[in-house]
Amino acid sequence: MTTTTIAGVAVDTNDEGFFTDPTQWTEEMAPELAAAADIGQLTDRHWQVLHFMRDEYFEKGTGPTVRLLGKASGVSVKELYQLFPKAPAKTAARIAGIPKPRGCI
Protein backbone atom coordinates (compact mmCIF):
# COMPACT_ATOMS: atom_id res chain seq x y z
CA MET A 1 0.00 0.00 0.00
CA THR A 2 1.25 3.48 -0.85
CA THR A 3 0.05 7.01 -0.29
CA THR A 4 -0.57 9.13 -3.37
CA THR A 5 -1.52 12.80 -3.51
CA ILE A 6 -4.46 13.52 -5.78
CA ALA A 7 -6.01 16.96 -6.15
CA GLY A 8 -3.94 17.99 -3.14
CA VAL A 9 -5.26 15.22 -0.87
CA ALA A 10 -3.33 12.17 0.38
CA VAL A 11 -5.11 8.88 -0.44
CA ASP A 12 -4.24 5.19 -0.04
CA THR A 13 -3.67 3.16 -3.19
CA ASN A 14 -2.39 -0.35 -3.91
CA ASP A 15 0.54 -1.41 -6.13
CA GLU A 16 -1.63 -1.16 -9.22
CA GLY A 17 -2.88 2.33 -8.41
CA PHE A 18 -6.40 1.44 -7.27
CA PHE A 19 -7.93 3.16 -4.24
CA THR A 20 -8.02 0.88 -1.20
CA ASP A 21 -10.54 3.11 0.59
CA PRO A 22 -13.20 4.41 -1.82
CA THR A 23 -14.55 6.83 0.81
CA GLN A 24 -11.37 8.89 0.36
CA TRP A 25 -12.42 9.71 -3.20
CA THR A 26 -14.11 12.97 -4.19
CA GLU A 27 -15.44 14.10 -7.57
CA GLU A 28 -12.70 16.75 -7.72
CA MET A 29 -10.11 13.95 -8.02
CA ALA A 30 -11.65 12.44 -11.16
CA PRO A 31 -10.11 14.79 -13.78
CA GLU A 32 -6.59 14.22 -12.43
CA LEU A 33 -7.14 10.43 -12.29
CA ALA A 34 -8.56 10.52 -15.84
CA ALA A 35 -5.55 12.45 -17.14
CA ALA A 36 -3.23 9.86 -15.56
CA ALA A 37 -5.16 7.20 -17.50
CA ASP A 38 -4.76 9.16 -20.77
CA ILE A 39 -8.40 10.19 -20.89
CA GLY A 40 -9.11 13.80 -21.75
CA GLN A 41 -12.20 15.79 -20.82
CA LEU A 42 -14.73 13.79 -18.77
CA THR A 43 -18.16 14.02 -20.44
CA ASP A 44 -21.64 13.28 -19.05
CA ARG A 45 -21.35 9.80 -20.54
CA HIS A 46 -18.11 9.18 -18.60
CA TRP A 47 -19.79 10.42 -15.43
CA GLN A 48 -22.78 8.13 -15.97
CA VAL A 49 -20.37 5.17 -15.93
CA LEU A 50 -18.33 6.49 -12.97
CA HIS A 51 -21.42 7.00 -10.81
CA PHE A 52 -22.75 3.58 -11.78
CA MET A 53 -19.38 2.00 -10.83
CA ARG A 54 -19.46 3.59 -7.37
CA ASP A 55 -23.14 2.72 -6.74
CA GLU A 56 -22.47 -0.90 -7.66
CA TYR A 57 -19.36 -0.99 -5.50
CA PHE A 58 -21.13 0.28 -2.40
CA GLU A 59 -24.09 -2.02 -2.99
CA LYS A 60 -22.25 -5.23 -3.91
CA GLY A 61 -18.75 -4.84 -2.50
CA THR A 62 -17.10 -5.02 -5.93
CA GLY A 63 -17.19 -2.94 -9.10
CA PRO A 64 -18.91 -4.35 -12.20
CA THR A 65 -17.17 -5.98 -15.15
CA VAL A 66 -17.48 -4.59 -18.69
CA ARG A 67 -20.15 -7.14 -19.46
CA LEU A 68 -22.27 -6.08 -16.47
CA LEU A 69 -21.67 -2.42 -17.32
CA GLY A 70 -22.91 -3.09 -20.86
CA LYS A 71 -26.04 -4.77 -19.50
CA ALA A 72 -26.91 -2.38 -16.71
CA SER A 73 -25.21 1.04 -16.91
CA GLY A 74 -27.12 2.38 -19.91
CA VAL A 75 -23.86 2.61 -21.89
CA SER A 76 -23.21 -0.11 -24.49
CA VAL A 77 -20.00 -2.17 -24.51
CA LYS A 78 -19.02 -0.53 -27.81
CA GLU A 79 -19.35 2.95 -26.33
CA LEU A 80 -17.57 1.89 -23.13
CA TYR A 81 -14.51 1.08 -25.24
CA GLN A 82 -14.72 4.51 -26.87
CA LEU A 83 -15.01 6.28 -23.50
CA PHE A 84 -12.42 4.22 -21.64
CA PRO A 85 -10.21 2.56 -24.30
CA LYS A 86 -8.50 -0.83 -23.77
CA ALA A 87 -9.89 -1.87 -20.37
CA PRO A 88 -13.08 0.05 -19.59
CA ALA A 89 -13.97 -1.57 -16.27
CA LYS A 90 -10.44 -1.30 -14.90
CA THR A 91 -9.89 2.25 -16.09
CA ALA A 92 -13.30 3.43 -14.90
CA ALA A 93 -12.66 1.79 -11.51
CA ARG A 94 -9.36 3.64 -11.24
CA ILE A 95 -11.00 7.00 -12.02
CA ALA A 96 -14.04 6.27 -9.82
CA GLY A 97 -11.74 5.54 -6.87
CA ILE A 98 -12.82 1.95 -6.23
CA PRO A 99 -10.74 -1.25 -6.06
CA LYS A 100 -10.13 -3.32 -9.18
CA PRO A 101 -13.36 -5.18 -10.08
CA ARG A 102 -13.13 -8.74 -8.87
CA GLY A 103 -15.05 -10.37 -11.70
CA CYS A 104 -11.85 -11.87 -12.91
CA ILE A 105 -10.49 -14.68 -10.76
Binding site: K60, T62, T65, V66, R67, L68, K71, A72, V77, K78, L80, Y81, P85, K86, A87, R102, G103, C104, I105
Partner: protein
Protein backbone atom coordinates in the same frame (compact mmCIF):
# COMPACT_ATOMS: atom_id res chain seq x y z
CA UNK B 1 -43.31 -33.09 10.42
CA UNK B 2 -40.24 -33.71 8.33
CA UNK B 3 -37.93 -31.02 6.99
CA UNK B 4 -37.51 -30.82 3.26
CA UNK B 5 -34.17 -29.91 1.69
CA UNK B 6 -34.30 -29.41 -2.06
CA UNK B 7 -31.04 -29.29 -4.01
CA UNK B 8 -31.14 -27.82 -7.52
CA UNK B 9 -28.50 -29.39 -9.75
CA UNK B 10 -26.97 -32.85 -9.49
CA UNK B 11 -23.45 -31.99 -10.63
CA UNK B 12 -20.35 -31.75 -8.44
CA UNK B 13 -21.80 -29.47 -5.75
CA UNK B 14 -25.36 -30.83 -5.62
CA UNK B 15 -24.19 -34.43 -5.39
CA UNK B 16 -21.61 -33.95 -2.67
CA UNK B 17 -23.98 -31.76 -0.64
CA UNK B 18 -26.79 -34.34 -0.83
CA UNK B 19 -24.47 -37.16 0.21
CA UNK B 20 -23.00 -35.18 3.11
CA UNK B 21 -26.47 -34.22 4.36
CA UNK B 22 -27.74 -37.78 4.04
CA UNK B 23 -24.94 -39.03 6.29
CA UNK B 24 -26.11 -36.62 8.99
CA UNK B 25 -29.80 -37.51 8.57
CA UNK B 26 -30.16 -41.26 8.48
CA UNK B 27 -33.88 -41.36 9.37
CA UNK B 28 -36.82 -39.67 7.74
CA UNK B 29 -36.85 -36.45 9.77
CA UNK B 30 -35.21 -34.77 6.78
CA UNK B 31 -36.02 -35.50 3.14
CA UNK B 32 -33.35 -34.72 0.58
CA UNK B 33 -34.34 -34.19 -3.06
CA UNK B 34 -31.94 -33.52 -5.95
CA UNK B 35 -33.27 -32.08 -9.22
CA UNK B 36 -31.38 -32.19 -12.51
CA UNK B 37 -32.39 -31.82 -16.13
CA UNK B 38 -30.54 -34.94 -17.31
CA UNK B 39 -28.92 -38.09 -15.96
CA UNK B 40 -25.42 -37.63 -17.41
CA UNK B 41 -22.85 -36.58 -14.85
CA UNK B 42 -19.79 -35.36 -16.76
CA UNK B 43 -16.38 -35.34 -15.07
CA UNK B 44 -15.68 -31.90 -16.56
CA UNK B 45 -11.91 -31.76 -15.91
CA UNK B 46 -11.73 -34.70 -18.34
CA UNK B 47 -13.04 -32.49 -21.17
CA UNK B 48 -9.56 -30.98 -21.45
CA UNK B 49 -8.11 -34.33 -22.53
CA UNK B 50 -10.81 -35.30 -25.06
CA UNK B 51 -9.56 -33.05 -27.91
CA UNK B 52 -6.12 -34.70 -27.73
CA UNK B 53 -7.46 -38.24 -27.84
CA UNK B 54 -6.19 -38.86 -24.29
CA UNK B 55 -9.69 -39.85 -23.15
CA UNK B 56 -13.16 -40.03 -24.69
CA UNK B 57 -16.51 -38.57 -23.68
CA UNK B 58 -17.82 -42.07 -22.82
CA UNK B 59 -15.03 -42.48 -20.29
CA UNK B 60 -15.92 -39.34 -18.35
CA UNK B 61 -19.72 -39.65 -18.09
CA UNK B 62 -21.65 -41.64 -15.48
CA UNK B 63 -25.33 -41.67 -14.44
CA UNK B 64 -26.09 -38.87 -11.97
CA UNK B 65 -28.57 -40.87 -9.95
CA UNK B 66 -25.98 -43.53 -9.14
CA UNK B 67 -23.66 -41.01 -7.49
CA UNK B 68 -26.41 -40.28 -4.93
CA UNK B 69 -26.62 -42.39 -1.77
CA UNK B 70 -29.71 -44.46 -0.90
CA UNK B 71 -32.49 -42.44 0.62
CA UNK B 72 -31.90 -39.36 -1.57
CA UNK B 73 -34.65 -38.72 -4.07
CA UNK B 74 -33.56 -37.86 -7.63
CA UNK B 75 -35.98 -35.89 -9.80
CA UNK B 76 -35.15 -35.74 -13.51
CA UNK B 77 -36.66 -32.52 -14.80
CA UNK B 78 -35.58 -29.08 -15.89
CA UNK B 79 -36.30 -26.29 -13.42
CA UNK B 80 -38.71 -23.61 -14.52
CA UNK B 81 -38.38 -21.13 -11.66
CA UNK B 82 -38.08 -20.61 -7.92
CA UNK B 83 -40.73 -18.73 -5.96
CA UNK B 84 -38.78 -17.27 -3.04
CA UNK B 85 -41.86 -15.86 -1.31
CA UNK B 86 -43.72 -19.18 -1.32
CA UNK B 87 -40.62 -21.40 -0.75
CA UNK B 88 -41.47 -23.44 -3.83
CA UNK B 89 -39.64 -24.73 -6.89
CA UNK B 90 -41.64 -25.06 -10.10
CA UNK B 91 -40.38 -27.73 -12.47
CA UNK B 92 -40.64 -27.63 -16.25
CA UNK B 93 -42.78 -30.78 -16.20
CA UNK B 94 -45.43 -28.96 -14.13
CA UNK B 95 -44.59 -30.41 -10.73
CA UNK B 96 -44.04 -28.21 -7.70
CA UNK B 97 -41.57 -28.93 -4.87
CA UNK B 98 -42.00 -27.07 -1.56
CA UNK B 99 -38.82 -26.60 0.49
CA UNK B 100 -37.66 -25.59 3.95
CA UNK B 101 -34.07 -25.21 2.77
CA UNK B 102 -33.04 -24.69 -0.85
CA UNK B 103 -29.52 -25.34 -2.13
CA UNK B 104 -28.65 -23.86 -5.52
CA UNK B 105 -26.05 -25.97 -7.31
CA UNK B 106 -26.95 -25.45 -10.94
CA UNK B 107 -23.46 -24.32 -11.93
CA UNK B 108 -22.53 -22.09 -14.85
CA UNK B 109 -23.97 -22.16 -18.35
CA UNK B 110 -22.12 -21.40 -21.59
CA UNK B 111 -23.65 -18.48 -23.51
CA UNK B 112 -21.79 -18.44 -26.86
CA UNK B 113 -24.75 -16.66 -28.52
CA UNK B 114 -23.91 -13.53 -26.50
CA UNK B 115 -20.77 -12.93 -28.59
CA UNK B 116 -21.40 -11.63 -32.07
CA UNK B 117 -20.67 -14.18 -34.78
CA UNK B 118 -19.47 -16.91 -32.42
CA UNK B 119 -22.29 -19.35 -33.23
CA UNK B 120 -22.59 -18.05 -36.81
CA UNK B 121 -20.89 -19.46 -39.94
CA UNK B 122 -17.85 -21.52 -38.96
CA UNK B 123 -19.16 -22.64 -35.56
CA UNK B 124 -18.18 -26.29 -35.08
CA UNK B 125 -16.28 -26.06 -38.37
CA UNK B 126 -13.39 -23.66 -37.77
CA UNK B 127 -14.55 -22.40 -34.36
CA UNK B 128 -14.93 -24.81 -31.43
CA UNK B 129 -15.13 -24.99 -27.67
CA UNK B 130 -13.98 -27.91 -25.52
CA UNK B 131 -16.10 -26.72 -22.57
CA UNK B 132 -18.93 -29.14 -23.34
CA UNK B 133 -18.84 -32.78 -24.52
CA UNK B 134 -20.02 -32.34 -28.13
CA UNK B 135 -17.50 -29.56 -28.78
CA UNK B 136 -14.66 -31.49 -27.15
CA UNK B 137 -15.40 -34.58 -29.28
CA UNK B 138 -15.64 -32.52 -32.50
CA UNK B 139 -12.34 -30.84 -31.67
CA UNK B 140 -10.69 -34.26 -31.26
CA UNK B 141 -11.57 -35.08 -34.87
CA UNK B 142 -10.42 -31.65 -36.04
CA UNK B 143 -7.05 -31.74 -34.24
CA UNK B 144 -6.30 -35.25 -35.47
CA UNK B 145 -6.72 -34.01 -39.05
CA UNK B 146 -5.06 -30.59 -38.59
CA UNK B 147 -1.86 -30.41 -40.60
CA UNK B 148 -0.62 -26.90 -39.97
CA UNK B 149 -1.74 -23.31 -39.58
CA UNK B 150 -2.74 -20.82 -36.93
CA UNK B 151 -4.57 -21.95 -33.82
CA UNK B 152 -5.93 -19.33 -31.45
CA UNK B 153 -7.18 -20.17 -27.97
CA UNK B 154 -9.42 -17.36 -26.76
CA UNK B 155 -11.16 -16.58 -23.49
CA UNK B 156 -13.95 -14.12 -24.28
CA UNK B 157 -14.36 -12.83 -20.72
CA UNK B 158 -14.23 -13.94 -17.11
CA UNK B 159 -15.58 -15.51 -15.01
CA UNK B 160 -15.15 -18.94 -16.59
CA UNK B 161 -15.02 -22.39 -15.07
CA UNK B 162 -11.51 -23.49 -14.27
CA UNK B 163 -9.64 -20.40 -15.57
CA UNK B 164 -6.46 -22.44 -16.02
CA UNK B 165 -8.04 -24.91 -18.49
CA UNK B 166 -7.46 -22.69 -21.58
CA UNK B 167 -3.76 -22.42 -20.67
CA UNK B 168 -3.58 -26.16 -20.21
CA UNK B 169 -5.12 -26.51 -23.67
CA UNK B 170 -2.24 -24.43 -25.11
CA UNK B 171 0.41 -26.55 -23.35
CA UNK B 172 -1.21 -29.80 -24.45
CA UNK B 173 -1.55 -28.53 -28.03
CA UNK B 174 2.17 -27.73 -28.09
CA UNK B 175 2.95 -31.26 -26.88
CA UNK B 176 0.39 -32.88 -29.21
CA UNK B 177 1.82 -31.26 -32.37
CA UNK B 178 5.39 -31.88 -31.23
CA UNK B 179 4.60 -35.59 -30.88
CA UNK B 180 2.99 -35.53 -34.31
CA UNK B 181 6.18 -33.99 -35.69
CA UNK B 182 4.48 -30.90 -37.14
CA UNK B 183 4.95 -28.35 -34.35
CA UNK B 184 7.00 -26.13 -36.69
CA UNK B 185 3.96 -25.81 -38.96
CA UNK B 186 1.55 -24.84 -36.17
CA UNK B 187 1.37 -21.39 -34.65
CA UNK B 188 -0.34 -21.30 -31.24
CA UNK B 189 -1.68 -18.00 -29.87
CA UNK B 190 -3.39 -17.41 -26.54
CA UNK B 191 -5.69 -14.34 -26.62
CA UNK B 192 -6.88 -13.29 -23.15
CA UNK B 193 -8.79 -10.31 -21.73
CA UNK B 194 -6.36 -10.26 -18.79
CA UNK B 195 -3.15 -8.25 -18.69
CA UNK B 196 -1.12 -11.44 -18.15
CA UNK B 197 -1.40 -15.21 -18.42
CA UNK B 198 -3.50 -15.60 -15.25
CA UNK B 199 -5.58 -13.61 -12.77
CA UNK B 200 -3.15 -13.93 -9.87
CA UNK B 201 0.15 -12.02 -10.46
CA UNK B 202 2.58 -14.60 -9.00
CA UNK B 203 1.08 -17.49 -10.95
CA UNK B 204 0.79 -15.27 -14.01
CA UNK B 205 4.55 -14.80 -14.02
CA UNK B 206 5.33 -18.53 -13.74
CA UNK B 207 2.77 -19.44 -16.40
CA UNK B 208 3.81 -16.60 -18.71
CA UNK B 209 7.37 -17.95 -18.59
CA UNK B 210 6.20 -21.44 -19.47
CA UNK B 211 4.15 -20.17 -22.41
CA UNK B 212 7.17 -18.28 -23.76
CA UNK B 213 9.38 -21.38 -23.37
CA UNK B 214 6.90 -23.33 -25.45
CA UNK B 215 6.73 -20.78 -28.22
CA UNK B 216 3.11 -19.88 -27.48
CA UNK B 217 2.33 -16.28 -28.32
CA UNK B 218 0.22 -14.37 -25.79
CA UNK B 219 -2.06 -11.50 -26.78
CA UNK B 220 -3.18 -9.68 -23.63
CA UNK B 221 -6.07 -7.31 -22.89
CA UNK B 222 -7.87 -8.76 -25.89
CA UNK B 223 -11.62 -8.36 -25.38
CA UNK B 224 -13.37 -10.27 -28.11
CA UNK B 225 -16.18 -8.29 -29.67
CA UNK B 226 -16.75 -10.41 -32.75
CA UNK B 227 -15.80 -13.80 -34.17
CA UNK B 228 -15.62 -14.27 -37.95
CA UNK B 229 -15.58 -18.02 -38.42
CA UNK B 230 -15.54 -17.92 -42.20
CA UNK B 231 -13.06 -15.06 -42.53
CA UNK B 232 -10.91 -16.64 -39.82
CA UNK B 233 -10.40 -13.73 -37.45
CA UNK B 234 -11.22 -12.55 -33.95
CA UNK B 235 -11.92 -8.83 -33.61
CA UNK B 236 -11.61 -7.07 -30.26
CA UNK B 237 -13.79 -4.20 -29.04
CA UNK B 238 -10.84 -1.85 -29.58
CA UNK B 239 -10.58 -3.15 -33.17
CA UNK B 240 -7.48 -5.30 -33.01
CA UNK B 241 -7.54 -8.55 -35.00
CA UNK B 242 -6.17 -12.02 -34.44
CA UNK B 243 -6.26 -14.23 -37.55
CA UNK B 244 -6.80 -18.00 -37.27
CA UNK B 245 -7.31 -21.22 -39.19
CA UNK B 246 -8.76 -22.88 -36.10
CA UNK B 247 -10.23 -21.07 -33.10
CA UNK B 248 -10.80 -22.67 -29.71
CA UNK B 249 -13.06 -20.26 -27.85
CA UNK B 250 -14.18 -20.31 -24.24
CA UNK B 251 -17.58 -18.60 -24.47
CA UNK B 252 -19.06 -16.21 -21.91
CA UNK B 253 -20.56 -17.91 -18.86
CA UNK B 254 -23.77 -17.12 -17.04
CA UNK B 255 -25.85 -18.85 -14.41
CA UNK B 256 -28.75 -21.19 -15.23
CA UNK B 257 -31.61 -19.64 -17.19
CA UNK B 258 -34.28 -20.39 -14.57
CA UNK B 259 -32.41 -18.04 -12.20
CA UNK B 260 -33.30 -15.19 -14.54
CA UNK B 261 -36.95 -16.31 -14.55
CA UNK B 262 -37.08 -16.33 -10.73
CA UNK B 263 -37.86 -12.85 -9.35
CA UNK B 264 -35.22 -11.62 -6.91
CA UNK B 265 -32.93 -14.64 -7.20
CA UNK B 266 -30.00 -13.72 -9.45
CA UNK B 267 -27.79 -10.90 -10.71
CA UNK B 268 -27.66 -9.51 -14.27
CA UNK B 269 -25.97 -12.66 -15.60
CA UNK B 270 -28.00 -15.14 -13.51
CA UNK B 271 -25.47 -15.97 -10.79
CA UNK B 272 -26.88 -15.97 -7.26
CA UNK B 273 -25.47 -13.39 -4.80
CA UNK B 274 -23.86 -15.35 -1.98
CA UNK B 275 -22.11 -14.50 1.27
CA UNK B 276 -18.51 -15.50 0.56
CA UNK B 277 -17.83 -16.90 4.05
CA UNK B 278 -21.12 -18.57 5.11
CA UNK B 279 -22.32 -19.61 1.62
CA UNK B 280 -25.82 -18.44 2.48
CA UNK B 281 -27.51 -16.49 -0.30
CA UNK B 282 -28.07 -12.79 0.07
CA UNK B 283 -31.59 -13.22 -1.29
CA UNK B 284 -33.33 -15.34 1.40
CA UNK B 285 -32.21 -16.82 4.76
CA UNK B 286 -33.19 -20.39 3.82
CA UNK B 287 -31.41 -20.39 0.43
CA UNK B 288 -27.77 -21.53 0.16
CA UNK B 289 -25.33 -21.90 -2.74
CA UNK B 290 -22.47 -24.14 -3.70
CA UNK B 291 -20.18 -24.26 -6.72
CA UNK B 292 -20.17 -22.25 -9.92
CA UNK B 293 -23.70 -20.83 -9.45
CA UNK B 294 -22.56 -18.59 -6.59
CA UNK B 295 -20.97 -15.15 -6.86
CA UNK B 296 -18.17 -15.86 -4.36
CA UNK B 297 -14.91 -14.21 -5.49
CA UNK B 298 -12.75 -17.28 -6.02
CA UNK B 299 -12.23 -19.62 -8.98
CA UNK B 300 -15.18 -21.53 -10.40
CA UNK B 301 -13.64 -24.96 -9.88
CA UNK B 302 -14.47 -28.44 -8.70
CA UNK B 303 -11.83 -28.14 -5.98
CA UNK B 304 -13.49 -24.99 -4.65
CA UNK B 305 -16.86 -26.75 -4.77
CA UNK B 306 -15.38 -29.61 -2.77
CA UNK B 307 -13.86 -27.27 -0.16
CA UNK B 308 -17.22 -25.50 0.16
CA UNK B 309 -19.03 -28.73 1.00
CA UNK B 310 -18.02 -29.02 4.64
CA UNK B 311 -18.71 -25.38 5.69
CA UNK B 312 -21.93 -25.31 3.64
CA UNK B 313 -23.39 -28.40 5.29
CA UNK B 314 -22.33 -27.18 8.74
CA UNK B 315 -24.17 -23.92 8.09
CA UNK B 316 -27.30 -25.66 6.83
CA UNK B 317 -27.29 -27.59 10.11
CA UNK B 318 -26.86 -24.35 12.09
CA UNK B 319 -29.76 -22.83 10.17
CA UNK B 320 -32.01 -25.82 10.88
CA UNK B 321 -31.09 -25.65 14.58
CA UNK B 322 -31.83 -21.92 14.70
CA UNK B 323 -28.18 -21.11 15.47
CA UNK B 324 -26.01 -18.35 13.96
CA UNK B 325 -23.99 -19.38 10.90
CA UNK B 326 -20.20 -19.66 10.94
CA UNK B 327 -18.14 -17.59 8.48
CA UNK B 328 -15.69 -20.41 7.85
CA UNK B 329 -15.24 -20.63 4.07
CA UNK B 330 -11.90 -19.03 3.09
CA UNK B 331 -12.10 -19.19 -0.71
CA UNK B 332 -9.66 -22.11 -0.85
CA UNK B 333 -8.87 -23.18 -4.44
CA UNK B 334 -6.41 -25.79 -5.64
CA UNK B 335 -5.68 -26.38 -9.31
CA UNK B 336 -3.43 -28.77 -11.16
CA UNK B 337 -2.24 -27.18 -14.38
CA UNK B 338 -1.37 -29.80 -16.97
CA UNK B 339 1.67 -28.64 -18.95
CA UNK B 340 2.18 -31.64 -21.26
CA UNK B 341 5.13 -34.03 -21.47
CA UNK B 342 3.69 -35.93 -18.44
CA UNK B 343 4.10 -32.91 -16.20
CA UNK B 344 1.84 -30.53 -14.31
CA UNK B 345 2.05 -27.49 -12.07
CA UNK B 346 0.03 -27.05 -8.88
CA UNK B 347 -1.35 -23.82 -7.45
CA UNK B 348 -3.15 -23.36 -4.11
CA UNK B 349 -4.68 -20.10 -2.87
CA UNK B 350 -7.60 -18.49 -1.05
CA UNK B 351 -9.38 -15.11 -0.83
CA UNK B 352 -6.36 -13.47 0.81
CA UNK B 353 -3.31 -15.52 -0.14
CA UNK B 354 -1.73 -15.53 -3.59
CA UNK B 355 -0.46 -18.78 -5.07
CA UNK B 356 3.10 -19.09 -3.69
CA UNK B 357 5.92 -21.62 -4.13
CA UNK B 358 6.49 -24.38 -1.57
CA UNK B 359 4.81 -27.72 -1.06
CA UNK B 360 1.21 -28.91 -0.64
CA UNK B 361 -0.47 -29.80 1.68
CA UNK B 362 2.54 -29.72 4.06
CA UNK B 363 6.33 -29.41 3.99
CA UNK B 364 6.49 -32.81 2.37
CA UNK B 365 4.08 -32.92 -0.51
CA UNK B 366 3.46 -31.84 -4.05
CA UNK B 367 5.64 -28.98 -5.34
CA UNK B 368 3.75 -25.69 -5.81
CA UNK B 369 4.14 -23.36 -8.80
CA UNK B 370 6.67 -25.68 -10.41
CA UNK B 371 6.03 -28.30 -13.06
CA UNK B 372 6.72 -31.87 -12.05
CA UNK B 373 5.76 -35.43 -12.89
CA UNK B 374 4.30 -35.89 -9.42
CA UNK B 375 1.72 -33.17 -10.07
CA UNK B 376 0.77 -34.80 -13.36
CA UNK B 377 0.11 -38.05 -11.48
CA UNK B 378 -1.94 -36.01 -9.01
CA UNK B 379 -4.06 -34.63 -11.84
CA UNK B 380 -4.67 -38.13 -13.25
CA UNK B 381 -5.53 -39.48 -9.81
CA UNK B 382 -8.06 -36.69 -9.37
CA UNK B 383 -10.54 -38.46 -11.65
CA UNK B 384 -10.79 -41.46 -9.39
CA UNK B 385 -10.79 -39.26 -6.28
CA UNK B 386 -13.67 -37.31 -7.88
CA UNK B 387 -15.98 -40.32 -8.32
CA UNK B 388 -14.97 -42.21 -5.17
CA UNK B 389 -14.29 -39.55 -2.52
CA UNK B 390 -15.33 -36.10 -3.65
CA UNK B 391 -18.86 -36.87 -4.89
CA UNK B 392 -19.64 -39.19 -1.93
CA UNK B 393 -18.79 -36.13 0.18
CA UNK B 394 -15.85 -37.61 2.05
CA UNK B 395 -13.12 -35.45 3.52
CA UNK B 396 -9.88 -36.29 1.72
CA UNK B 397 -7.15 -37.59 4.05
CA UNK B 398 -4.65 -34.82 4.79
CA UNK B 399 -6.56 -32.26 2.71
CA UNK B 400 -8.82 -30.04 4.82
CA UNK B 401 -11.32 -27.44 3.68
CA UNK B 402 -9.23 -24.49 4.89
CA UNK B 403 -6.15 -23.50 2.88
CA UNK B 404 -3.00 -25.00 4.48
CA UNK B 405 0.06 -22.80 5.07
CA UNK B 406 2.59 -25.27 6.56
CA UNK B 407 4.61 -26.03 3.42
CA UNK B 408 4.33 -22.62 1.81
CA UNK B 409 6.93 -19.92 1.29
CA UNK B 410 4.64 -17.14 2.45
CA UNK B 411 5.66 -13.50 2.61
CA UNK B 412 5.67 -12.18 6.20
CA UNK B 413 2.27 -10.57 5.69
CA UNK B 414 -0.37 -13.28 5.56
CA UNK B 415 -3.92 -14.18 6.45
CA UNK B 416 -4.20 -12.53 9.86
CA UNK B 417 -3.73 -9.13 8.21
CA UNK B 418 -6.68 -9.63 5.94
CA UNK B 419 -9.13 -6.71 5.93
Amino acid sequence: MSTSIVILGGGTGGTLTANRLRRLHRDDDVTITVVDQDDDHVYQPGLLFVPFGMTSVDDIVRPRSRQLHDGIEFVASAIDRVDLDADQVHLADGRMLPYDVLVIATGARLVPEETEGLTGPGWMDTVFTFYEPAGAAALARELAAFDGGRIVVNVVDLPIKCPVAPLEFCFLADWFFTERGIRDRVQITYATPLDGAFTKPSASEALGGLLADRGIEVVTEFNTGEVHGEGGRLVSWDEREVPFDLAVVIPLHGGAEYVGRSPGLGDAVDFVPTDEHTLRSKVAPNVFEIGDAATVPTSKAGSVTHFEGEPLVANIEHHLAGEPLEPTFDGHANCFIETGYHKALLIDFDYETEPVPGHYPGRIGLPLLKDSRLNHLGKLLFQSVYWHSLLPGRDLPGVGSAMPTAGKHLPTRSKEHAP
